[in-house]
């Protein structure tokens, strides 16, 4: 197992239970993370790369696998394309180069390359440490190349596994909440696929892809987007470069927010629609990280006049002149099953009986697929071969220099979640509030006491926050969460440099400096 840019011990605790079952049976675990996280503490090896040097490391691992002749030649020849371009690309990524770029000793990189390539089964799991970069998609492609090189994909116990951070982020994508996809990942610009929807819905679906989130903010900036309907999202606090986000949202002509709370975003809205809490007050489904569609059920009546999202949307459609009859979650689901082949076999009845089903599930006799890409092991491979897509190392946009010499990276803690809207509600004994976590060496270098309030300055903004010593950090590396935005607006510091393909901002790499306040203030 390689955990790459993931502290699953804290962010995906129950997944980590499964992982530890393997570890306790002898599976080896390597962790690639700038911090020596609690996940890393479980590992046979921790590769503490510098923030944003993932591709340098991945390409060096690929080069070492090729140089040592450990690649799976049969698999590469039969099931992939582009190996020669990949080989040429990684040729310059020597272990020595990687050690310089990442800080990780060459011997450890070599050890991981050999362990990964020679394992009978191996898997790479990642989280936002890979994706929250200006080149997050390239990071993913670099990891995909490693499993293609070794054949660790499409087989039981192998593969690449992005650990989903939110309970239905997978389901949102499944249902077409992506700018270029219709439900079931059917591309909106494909006429043949789109025609099914036009026909069943009796409307003409616009044939062009839309904007992803950061594209929408760009459009707001250009003035191309002037009205926004936000459902269950808190961009005021979750977007990088917060000052800019607030400015753009405030200047919209019309903002509607549908949420269970009066969030900071809702406070800017023209209209707020109080919604029910989907997971406990409504019926429906979500999809988890293993593509398992699972039923959510109503255990509580929503408070006050809060209403089911479904009812709100249907009512809105009625008011806007659409002829949408009142409906049920199951009826909507059955409509989806008609349109999305990968969901076709998932009746509510089967979902209930089987405790969920993993897509693709093509018909009611299909068991769902335990893992994807098994087709790559058929001969000949049905459909396209899996392409190597070579990529180059490109360090974080927010460069370190004499004015901003410290790297700030962000992440989650075990007991809290995102901007804290949900997790602030319970009294966690683990919660310590926001802090700038800092190495013991830096604490001494800046002449600070543990708990002392400091000013943290980036090229975009500044905040005051208490420092806290964290031995898992090395000199020059600091860490904050996004959980306490009401107290400490970390996203005033972060950069909105976004990946052009995914639209994700580089939350993981901010250049900062730490300023000691004139009079030391100790936060208890």
């Amino acid at each position: 197992m390689i955990l790459w840019g993931s502290n699953a011990r804290e962010t995906h605790p129950i997944f980590f239970h499964h992982l530890l079952k393997g570890v306790n049976k002898g599976a080896r675990l390597y962790t690639v993370d700038p911090r020596r996280t609690s996940s890393a503490e479980w590992s046979d090896g921790w590769l503490g790369l510098d923030v944003g040097s993932d591709i340098a490391l991945a390409n060096a691992i690929g080069r070492e696998i090729l140089a040592a002749g450990l690649e799976n030649r049969e698999f590469i020849a039969r099931a992939t394309s582009g190996i020669e371009e990949y080989r040429a690309k990684v040729e310059s990524y020597t272990l020595e180069y990687a050690e310089r770029e990442t800080g990780v000793p060459a011997a450890m990189i070599r050890e991981l390359a050999h362990a990964f390539a020679s394992a009978p089964r191996a898997m790479i799991c990642w989280t936002l440490g890979i994706t929250e970069h200006h080149n997050g998609v390239d990071n993913v492609l670099a990891l995909i190349s490693l499993v293609l090189l070794t054949g660790h994909v499409g087989r039981y116990g192998s593969g690449v596994n992005p650990l989903r951070g939110q309970n239905n982020v997978q389901g949102g994508g499944d249902m077409g909440a992506l700018p270029d996809r219709l439900p079931g990942f059917q591309h909106v610009e494909n006429d043949e696929l789109r025609a099914k929807f036009d026909q069943l819905w009796g409307v003409t679906v616009p044939p062009k892809r839309g904007w992803h989130l950061s594209g929408m903010f760009d459009a707001m900036e250009r003035g191309d987007l002037c009205a926004v309907y936000v459902i269950g999202e808190n961009p005021v606090q979750s977007e990088a470069d917060q000052a800019k986000a607030i400015h753009l949202l405030s200047n919209l002509e019309f903002l509607v927010v549908q949420d269970i709370f009066l969030t900071k975003t809702a406070q800017l809205a023209d209209v707020v629609l109080p919604a029910s809490a989907a997971w406990a007050e409504t019926e429906g489904t979500v999809t988890n990280s293993e593509r398992r569609v699972q039923r959510v059920r109503r255990a509580l009546a929503p408070p006050g006049l809060a209403r089911d999202d479904l009812e709100i949307v249907v009512d809105l459609a009625q008011r806007m002149g659409g002829n949408w009859p009142a409906t049920t979650p199951e009826a909507i689901w059955d409509e989806l099953r008609m349109l999305s082949p990968v969901h076709a076999g998932m009746s509510y009845k089967r979902l209930e009986e089987l405790g969920g089903l993993q897509w693709p599930c093509y018909d009611e006799n299909h068991p769902g697929e335990l893992f994807l890409h098994s087709r790559l092991w058929e001969d000949p491979v049905p459909g396209n071969r899996a392409p190597f897509i070579p990529v180059d190392h490109d360090p974080p946009v927010d460069r370190l220099d004499a004015d901003f010499p410290i790297r700030l990276t962000t992440g989650r803690r075990l007991d809290s979640y995102n901007t804290g809207v949900q997790s602030a509600g319970y009294r966690s004994p683990l919660r310590r509030g926001e802090s700038l976590d800092i190495s013991p060496e830096d604490l001494a270098r800046y002449g600070l006491a543990d708990g002392e309030l400091v000013r943290v300055v980036s090229r975009r903004g500044q905040i005051s926050v208490a420092v806290r010593v964290d031995p898992s950090l090395r000199p020059g590396l600091t860490f904050m969460t996004l959980h306490f935005q009401d107290d400490v607006a970390v996203n005033l510091l972060t950069i909105d440099a976004t990946d052009p393909k995914s639209g994700t901002a580089e939350f993981k790499a901010t250049a900062i400096r730490i300023e000691k306040l004139k009079a030391a203030v100790r936060v208890p």
Partner: protein
């Protein structure tokens, strides 16, 4: 980049057949007799599995489907022909030709005495299974005398192995009685109710959470569940997953909210409903069973047979539900 195809425009081709896990070794059936009836179960089954398959009701306290059998409580003991002593049904594997008796005089006596030993030393007032077991075996814990005075707070936690004050001939029976430990907002530990079944240690340890905040300390009757040096949970390695509560068979470990409702007399199991849904936090998709009383979530568990959780949760899933109940009651559309 130019030589490779763009990100796929079509969903990938279907595989010719759904992928499957590696084939498990073929499981052979084993024949044995239980109370004279011939039973056939897969090799590797325990006697308890066989008893349940056969509908023979077998009491258990330290056994749980999602934990490694520790076979410490011994209420499940059965008689196996040819064996000098009784065998714990929960962990003893079946063997071909094994002859098991589940209701002989010997079995009944051991089960009865074990229940009496527990009942005389531990407060079983919130152990749901206890009354039925006691009735079934006619167990009378009073036979050992009235309960001795409970220990002072933390007194038992300081006892050292191998040195105790000899019994003084007083008519009372030693117990594990002591004050409740309340040191955090989320749960309480009432070790007066602890039968030392090790389930919480297993759930905190290798069977699920692997945090190892608690272990058994001390020895013999002085053995107890403890953090290192009995430090409070906030100082310990505890991450408040609450999986120890999830497996506790006697209510020794309890949500603080449940404990307070019970103290206030407002805990009403008859008025509670349980609904399964999916956790609202990360993408793992844990099934939560929400126990609701008066439109309030009062407790959260997870089904043991969930393939995702195997009955175990994290702190957010188990305790992080309050936010849904902290909304303005008059919430209304605003403009």
């Amino acid at each position: 980049m130019s030589s490779v195809p763009p990100i796929q425009f079509y969903p990938p081709a279907r595989s010719s057949q759904p992928p499957m896990p590696p084939e498990a070794a073929r499981v052979v059936q084993v024949e044995l007799t239980i109370d004279g009836r011939t039973v056939s179960v897969p090799a590797g089954s325990t006697i308890l599995d066989a008893c349940r398959a056969e509908g023979v009701d077998t009491p258990t306290l330290c056994y749980l489907e999602n934990l490694t059998p520790i076979n410490a409580c011994r209420v499940c003991v059965v008689e196996v022909a040819g064996s000098r002593v009784l065998a714990p049904a929960c962990s003893r594997k079946v063997e071909p030709g094994m002859a098991v008796q589940t209701d002989t005089e010997r079995v009944r006596l051991s089960r009865k005495v074990v229940l009496e030993l527990l009942g005389s030393s531990v407060d079983l007032s919130t152990a749901p299974q206890a009354p039925a077991y006691f009735a079934r075996y006619g167990a009378d814990p009073e036979r050992f005398g009235a309960a001795a005075q409970p220990a002072a707070a933390n007194e038992r936690d300081g006892l050292e192995a191998g040195h105790h004050h000899a019994a003084d001939g007083q008519p009372s029976a030693a117990t594990v009685g002591q004050p409740v430990k309340i040191d955090n907002e989320l749960y309480v530990r009432d070790y007066s109710k602890c039968i030392l079944c090790y389930k919480c240690v297993e759930a905190c340890g290798v069977d699920a959470q692997n945090t190892f905040a608690i272990a058994v300390a001390g020895r013999g009757f002085d053995a107890r569940i403890s953090t290192e040096w009995n430090v409070g949970l906030p100082d310990s390695a505890c991450v408040y997953c609450g999986n120890c509560i999830g497996v506790c068979p006697t209510g020794a470990l309890m949500f603080r909210s449940e404990y307070e409702m019970r103290e206030a007399g407002t805990w009403d199991e008859a008025a509670q409903t349980s609904t399964d849904t999916i956790c609202p936090y990360c993408g793992v998709g844990c099934t939560l069973s929400l126990l609701v009383q008066d439109n309030e979530i009062v407790k959260v568990t997870s089904p043991l047979d969930s393939s995702v959780t195997e009955g175990h949760l994290c702190v957010k899933g188990r305790f992080g539900f309050s936010f849904v109940q902290q909304r303005e009651p008059g919430a209304a559309p605003t403009t």
